[in-house]
């Protein structure tokens, strides 16, 4: 119950984030000194100011906000289903969000920066996570939940393929395909205004369940007997994750596994408390995504490696290691 180590952990993560944010503003084709960056942030009127404020700042802000929302989504889902292996991407949420947004983009109903894209993505994520929680039911094991997630993710993949298949012209198809890989390249202030309100609302909904997640350590019946309204918690998590993941996908494409890795890195430092893991989990998510987004810009080559590709390349082996570590508990788990 000691709050002091938590404060230290959160401050350390925030400090790391600040350093990475400055680094993120520094990295790019145009070499700019830290002083020029600070001047640009203060509103300098030169090319440096333009580059920093119009190109690098939106990218940095989006990495921070999306990373935090994805880290928190993972921690919240883990709190709800009481298992450290829960992650939105394993439940089909980003895939469904991407499928819904692909249709909107491929058929050019709306420009890619209209609110229709995040709304479609949020709707897709909502259907998949809501469907999953409904199918898996009250007392579902992680096995049932993951199988249902696999089915939903596969269906969403097929729907995305259909959107590409039916795309009216190759340019639309290429646009969708690139965006599906997940990237923060060339994002503007418009994307920030598009995503951040939804991300913030989703984070608020997820964070509101902190004490309920802790009570759920004892199982649903015991938590309900302690006065927790389980149905309300489930609804808040479903909508919160849908808002967070949907808005993230809408502007950055599918970026998976941040929600798995980030909470895991800080869990031991907070005594495995599913309530205390929420804030550091979000900060760690922001740190990871920002670091990954700096890394893709530093790797030399003719094309930038996509952010979603990097998080999956790191996240999936991480997932396998976690399964390996948890396999005894998983085999012993009631199905």
């Amino acid at each position: 119950m000691d709050r002091l180590p938590d404060l230290r952990l959160n401050l350390a993560l925030a400090a790391l984030l600040a350093v990475l944010a400055l680094a993120s503003l520094t990295v790019g084709p145009a070499p700019l000194s830290p002083r020029a960056i600070l001047a640009a942030l203060a509103g300098s009127d030169d090319v440096a100011g333009l580059i920093v404020r119009e190109i690098r700042l939106p990218r940095t802000l989006l990495a921070l906000a999306i990373g935090a929302a994805l880290g928190l989504s993972g921690a919240a889902l883990q709190g709800l289903v009481r298992n450290p292996l829960a992650e939105p991407a394993l439940f089909g949420a980003p895939q469904a969000a991407a499928a819904a947004a692909s249709f909107v983009i491929a058929f050019g109903f709306f420009p890619a920066t209209s609110f229709a894209v995040p709304l479609a993505a949020i709707g897709g994520a909502l259907v998949s996570i809501g469907g999953l929680v409904a199918i898996a039911g009250r007392r579902a094991s992680l096995t049932v939940t993951l199988l249902a997630g696999l089915a939903l993710a596969s269906f969403a993949g097929a729907a995305t393929a259909l959107a590409l298949n039916l795309a009216p012209n190759p340019f639309a198809a290429i646009e969708v395909a690139f965006w599906l890989l997940g990237s923060l390249q060339d994002r503007s202030a418009e994307h920030v205004t598009l995503a951040v309100p939804f991300l913030a609302a989703g984070c608020a909904l997820m964070a509101a369940n902190a004490r309920a997640f802790r009570a759920l350590t004892l199982g649903e019946d015991a938590a309900a007997s302690l006065g927790v309204n389980i149905d309300a918690v489930r609804l808040r998590v479903v909508i919160g994750v849908a808002l967070g993941v949907g808005a993230a996908v809408a502007v950055a494409g599918a970026i998976g596994f941040v929600g798995l890795v980030a909470p895991h890195l800080v869990r031991r430092a907070v005594g495995s408390d599913p309530a205390r893991v929420l804030l550091p989990g979000a900060l760690a998510g922001a740190t990871l995504l920002l670091a990954a987004d700096i890394a893709v810009r530093l790797v030399p080559g003719p094309v930038e490696i996509k952010l979603g590709v990097v998080t999956a390349l790191i996240g999936v082996p991480f997932f396998l290691v976690m399964i390996f570590a948890e396999r005894r508990a998983l085999e012993g788990a009631p199905s």
Binding site: M1, R3, R82, N83, R211, R214, A215, L216, T217, L218, G219, D221, A222, A224, S225, L226, G227, V228, N229, G271, S272, D273, P274
Partner: protein, 258 residues
């Protein structure tokens, strides 16, 4: 004074009356054992009494007010519920687990108050789990977990305690420890209802035994009367020997199936 009263309570699950027309009264200071064969409806009755599942018909009155008039938080301050199995999904330390018992009292936006901390300390002391306070709960033995689980419900300081098979899967010593703790809670004025499969334990420790069979309450009496030979044969299908257990009433020891 009556703590909790169920009147003509029925719970229908998937078209079947799992609890059928149950009448039950829980008094302060009384440890009641709820016994019956597997599938008799004991857990369902207990969950309905705890307000965790709705009654299909009938009503439950908690301290002169219908149970469904209570907010979940109010209800949680009066009724503590210990489910089967002592499951802990995260390796929280024992002190944090016991503090969960304060959930219905604690201010959601403040750390634990002095009253909360005192209740937690008292619950740890009563269950002799103080020396485990810093340990992750998932590293404990079954007996230690059972004591921690009891400490958690004790910390709530509710007037009514429901415990679903609190002695299941425990070694003989811990079965006695748990039953003594439950009796101690009753002696201090609590109304305790415990589902117990072990008939000798039920008979030795409880003041009253409620017997369920196929959803109905077929006996509600002191142990000697509720667990007489005819009922053991009719409800459990067993023949029991009567064993003197330390000067108390003879205790039924299951001998063989009828």
């Amino acid at each position: 004074m009556t703590m909790l009263r169920a009147e003509k309570l029925s719970v229908v699950l998937r078209g079947r009356a799992v609890v059928d027309d149950a009448e039950l009264t829980l008094q302060p200071g009384v440890l009641t054992a709820l016994v019956g064969p597997n599938g008799a409806g004991k857990t369902t009755l207990m969950r309905a009494l705890a307000g965790l599942i709705p009654a299909s018909s009938g009503r439950i009155v908690l301290k002169d007010r219908p149970l469904h008039d209570f907010t979940p938080r109010e209800r949680a301050r009066s009724i503590a519920y210990l489910p089967q199995g002592n499951v802990f999904h995260w390796p929280l330390d024992v002190a944090a687990v016991v503090a969960l018992g304060r959930h219905p009292h604690a201010d959601p936006f403040a750390p634990l108050s002095g009253t909360d901390r005192a209740a937690v300390a008292h619950a740890l002391a009563a269950t002799q789990t103080e020396e485990l306070a810093e340990r992750p709960v998932t590293t404990l033995s079954g007996g230690e977990r059972a004591r921690v689980a009891l400490a958690r419900v004790l910390a709530t300081e509710a007037d009514i305690l429901f415990a679903d098979e609190p002695t299941a899967a425990l070694d003989p010593r811990h079965q006695l420890v748990v039953m003594e703790l439950l009796r101690g809670i009753a002696r201090r004025g609590g109304a305790v209802l415990a589902i117990v499969h072990d008939l000798p334990l039920a008979a030795r420790f409880s003041d009253r035994v409620v017997v369920m069979q196929r959803g109905r309450i077929v006996a509600d009496a002191p142990p000697r009367e509720a667990l007489d030979d005819a009922r053991l044969a009719a409800v459990f299908g067993i023949v029991a020997a009567r064993v003197e257990a330390g000067g108390e009433v003879p205790v039924p020891l299951p001998l063989r199936p009828v």
